[in-house]
Amino acid sequence: MKKLISKYWTWALSLLLGVSVYLFWAYPYKSVLSYQEQYQLFLFGEDYFLERISLPGGLADYIAEFLTQFYYIPVFGAAILGVVFFCLQRLTWVVSRRCGADIQWFRLSFVPALILWMYMGDENVLLCFAISLLAALEFMLHYIIVCDHTKGYAAKALYILLCVPLVYWLFGANVLTFIGFVAFYELKREKSLSNLSLTSQFVLYTLLTILVSSYYLQYPLFRLYGGINYYRYPAYIPFLQITTMVLFAVFPILTSVLPKMKMRILEITEIAIIAVLGFYGVKASFNPQKYDLIEYDYLVRGEQWNKIIIKAKQKPADTPMSVSIVNLALSQREELADRLFEFYQNGAEGLFPSFTRDMVSPVPTSEIFYRLGMINDAERYAFEAQEAIPNYRKSGRLTKRIIDCEIINGNYGVARKHLKRLQKSMYYDTWAENRLVMLKDEKAINADPVYGKLRAFREKKQDFLFSDQEMDQMLGLLLTGNMENKMAYEYLISYELLQKDLDRFMEYYPLGQYISYNHIPKAIQEILIGNWMKTHSNPSSIPYSVDSSTLNTTLNFMSLYTKNPNSPDLNLVPYVNNAWHYMLISNSGMEKKEKEKMKDIY
């Protein structure tokens, strides 16, 4: 056994990295995989391949997108990342070893991979970067092999001459990582003037290759030198990307110059470095607030309403996007008017967050509009989110939603066009095939439980312009158009409550009698009780069907509040969950939702 361990311990450690990466993304961070998958749409076909391969780094991009589509099923995505990291570490070590690194320093070969893992804490880092690093390592290895098996300069010069444009075009700016390694490798090997001159020419050749490409490509130079498809945002190259590239380039040389020594203290230091980087470094690089939102969106995508509510119970949602998702989840469980004030509320923003020009927040808002039957608005938000993807990729999830809306609106030509694109994808093709069949059968569309219902919910009698300042009027029109739209009623009532507009609440809440409730929702009861008690002294005279628990809690709240509005007891359960706590104590909703600012368009 001991022999086995001493023989395979390096493989075991590499495997441990792969498994750690797998577990990391398969469990706590699986929502990120869904996030990555939903902001790209890999398509099978010649045109798509040509579009990718026509740019530097195109093959890496194509492979990365091909692999990223498997993130649709998180365990596949996590396994892919596990394999990528395993290979990266192994190749780093193989190159280091070929450069002369002692086995003593094996553990350090995890450092570049761990730095990359940390860098990937930025959700906009694309898999393409890791794939191109793998390619760069492979070409480094081959360079060493060429050097080891040939004499003189001709072979390696020829290798560089051919490989630099090839690596650049297929894998992008990580050609600089490759040539950086070559430069350090050569400087270590032979410090003669002629070799220095040759190495300089290699570097110059690489820089010129990239420069020449700029004459054919409409990209700013910094993007050609920094990688077109490594990072989702095109405006800059992150510092950590450059650090990672430098590290992969110099690491094999650095480890090769470290002395051969076997000291326990060194082993402990190595393990400490890896542990710190692997645990604290990775943990610190994944911003919890950002990933919280990503997870909320993931749960919406999977319609996991219970999990959303449990999550909000564990840690209150406090951003417009997360609060709106919690409220959506409550509405899908038909509990919004009951449990609205069990959760943190931030005014009407928590029902309909203001539109922002980004690819994230409009996605769940689109979901809210869709389920309400505001189909045009749902499509707009989905479309805007898709167009806001900074690297101009499309999204399978958002395209599906756009198609849903086009089908409901009867725009079959546009729906068909989008469906034909989805037919070329791996995970959306069956759905697309089914919808294409459905397009030929109007009855099937009307009979579809979702399309049929939303067609019935959709406002049909009149056109009106969307106004985020008059959401209650729009909800009212939806509701009066179809009294089975319970979600519209709950949103309408919640909207007035969150705006603290009790006059309008009193005007609208009676519509609830036409909705299929077996009781008056709790939040409504609380307001009705409080309102009644403002003008009456006897609670038994309340003309509404209220339950005793709600009655007692509300009366106690009123009593406590009357005695001391600052009483700390008011901030405890059950009083903190009472509608009157929000009305009287919370600062949220003090100002009515501001009208969305009109923006210039192109």
Binding site: E46, D47, L50, E51, I53, S54, L55, S214, Y216, L217, Q218, Y219, P220, L221, P234, A235, F355, R357, M374, N376, D377, E379, R380, F383, E384, Q386, E387, A388, P390, Y392, K394, N409, G410, N411, G413, V414, K417, K420, R421, R458, E459, K460, K461, Q462, D463, F464, L465, F466, M474, M598, K599, D600, I601, Y602
Partner: protein
């Protein structure tokens, strides 16, 4: 990236060439004949084309067709034959045939193979015009047909003699910046203007290869200029200084309304970098928009609508088409504004006047409302005879969807326009001929190598097309530097 794709694609095609060369053309021995036209995409049956236009390749409209066989015979001689998944004519042979038949007809015999059997359809004709199209190509903006977020916007140019497309300036080169359309002086790209909106915004004036970035916003003008029109002599450019917005319909099938909160017309003297303002072109009670100089430069046409409380009063936006005299020697406008077409009186909106460069015609859009016709489903093209002032709708080219953004060729016998006729969403470009009597031919869709595949896979809309006499020369890398780091020349008021 479209440029590099045009480099890579031929290489891939070359690889398949060997295969294609050895594959044989099937000989059609037995066939059924039917007395109806073939169902082809695009519908090129009966169109009129200019000499020099790229091959009018077409596909069988039905997916179930296995093969198409097309024989083209020129009335004045020559013929062409192609067979395959779609009608894909050799570019050189096509040009030779079309040249040979200038002023004549091309007769197309189409056979379609389905389920192993061939069917020959009724022959159809295409007319080769006597009017040359004096243009290297066209320029246009490609943009996702959406809402507020622009996405991957780009200004492109297309060689009309083949299928090559080249970017002029794309958002990839100026990330996050929204660009407005390229406007040449008539069709000459030696002088053109374009705008970058928002942060780092500016107005580009390029003359004979020299680009200048100008800030046209001043204390007296509320916004930078757009919707440009050059004075034919090339010194002045008229712009509409406005703010354009959108509102979105909740309810039935229309999805958005585009409107302007304000709009004035300003004139830029490109020599002195001075703005010339005239009270009639910047009134408080009306919005002046879409300026266009007449062919002789003595008149500026534009649209004007009463200032409404938009978006609430979006239904009340009705534009009239008016004109004001202009004296190029003094750089001054006259005082009298003539109303050519009265929008409120006719309960219509007359927008985007485009006088032909020969001075005979005025083409414009008519819609039931709005000063942004591309978003109006009922927008149609109309033509006015400037001598008789007679007007008529261009029924030959109009569709039941928005038809707009028209522009003339330099000899005014061709025009290009955008139309949403196919699906109501993705605007495509059509070209049509106008003869000396104002008779307009059936328009033809901008040819593509494989039209069905191209258009079905295109998720952008064509926007503001224009002919260009020669290829536009523009240094996009310098534009990046200019946009992000360059100085802006501040205009002054004359």
């Amino acid at each position: 990236m479209r440029t590099s794709k045009t480099i890579v694609k031929p290489i891939i095609n070359f690889i398949f060439l060997t295969f294609l060369l050895v594959s044989c053309t099937e000989k059609i021995e037995k066939m059924n004949k039917v007395n109806e036209y073939p169902d082809i995409y695009p519908d090129y049956i009966g169109v009129t084309i200019p000499v020099g236009i790229a091959p009018l390749n077409f596909n069988p409209a039905q997916k179930s067709i296995d093969k198409i066989d097309v024989i083209v015979k020129g009335a004045k001689g020559g013929d062409l034959h192609t067979q395959g998944k779609w009608a894909d004519f050799d570019i050189d042979e096509w040009h030779e045939l079309v040249n040979q038949n200038k002023g004549g007809k091309l007769l197309f015999t189409v056979c379609l193979k389905k389920d192993g059997g061939w069917t020959q359809f009724k022959d159809f004709e295409i007319t080769v015009s006597n009017y040359d199209l004096d243009a290297w190509g066209i320029t246009y903006r490609l943009i996702s047909p959406g809402y507020e977020v622009g996405g991957d916007i780009g200004i492109y140019q297309r060689d009309l003699s083949n299928f090559d497309e080249f970017p002029i300036l794309t958002e990839k080169n100026v990330p996050g910046r929204c660009m407005n359309c390229h406007t040449p002086n008539q069709t000459d790209p030696k002088q053109f203007t374009a705008q970058i909106r928002g942060e780092n915004g500016g107005t580009l004036i390029q003359k004979n290869g020299h680009a200048e970035w100008i800030n046209t916003k001043t204390d007296l003008t509320k916004a930078a200029g757009s919707y440009a029109s050059w004075h034919p002599e090339g010194r002045y450019v008229a712009y509409a200084a406005n703010s354009v917005h959108q509102s979105f319909f909740t309810g039935r099938q229309s999805n958005l309304e585009v409107f302007h909160k304000f709009s004035d017309i300003i004139l830029l003297d490109t020599d002195t970098k001075q703005l010339i303002l005239h009270p009639n072109l910047r009134t408080d009670e009306a919005l002046e928009i879409f300026p266009a100089f007449s062919a002789d430069g003595k008149t500026l046409y534009y649209s004007t609508s009463n200032a409404c409380d938009v978006p609430a009063e979006y239904l009340k936006v009705k534009c009239s088409l008016v004109s004001i005299p202009f004296d190029v020697t003094t750089g001054t406008f006259g005082e009298k504004v003539d109303t050519l077409l009265n929008g409120p009186a006719d309960d219509r909106s007359y927008i985007i006047a485009r006088p032909s460069y020969d001075g005979k015609w005025l083409m414009y859009c008519v819609a039931s409302r709005s000063n942004f016709p591309i978003a109006q489903k009922d927008a149609d093209l109309w033509l006015m005879n400037l001598e008789t002032k007679e007007t008529r709708p261009l029924t030959e080219v109009n569709s039941d969807q928005s038809d707009s953004y028209h522009n003339w060729s330099s000899d005014s016998h061709w025009f290009v326009f955008s139309s949403k006729r196919e699906d109501g969403s993705f605007t495509k470009l059509y070209l049509a001929q106008v003869d000396e009597n104002g008779k307009v031919s059936k328009p033809f869709l901008l040819p593509q190598k494989n039209p069905k595949e191209f258009y079905h896979n295109l998720f952008d809309a064509y926007n503001v097309p224009n002919f260009t006499k020669t290829k536009v020369e523009f240094d996009a890398h310098k534009a990046y530097q200019d946009v992000f780091y360059g100085e802006r020349i501040q205009v002054t008021i004359k």
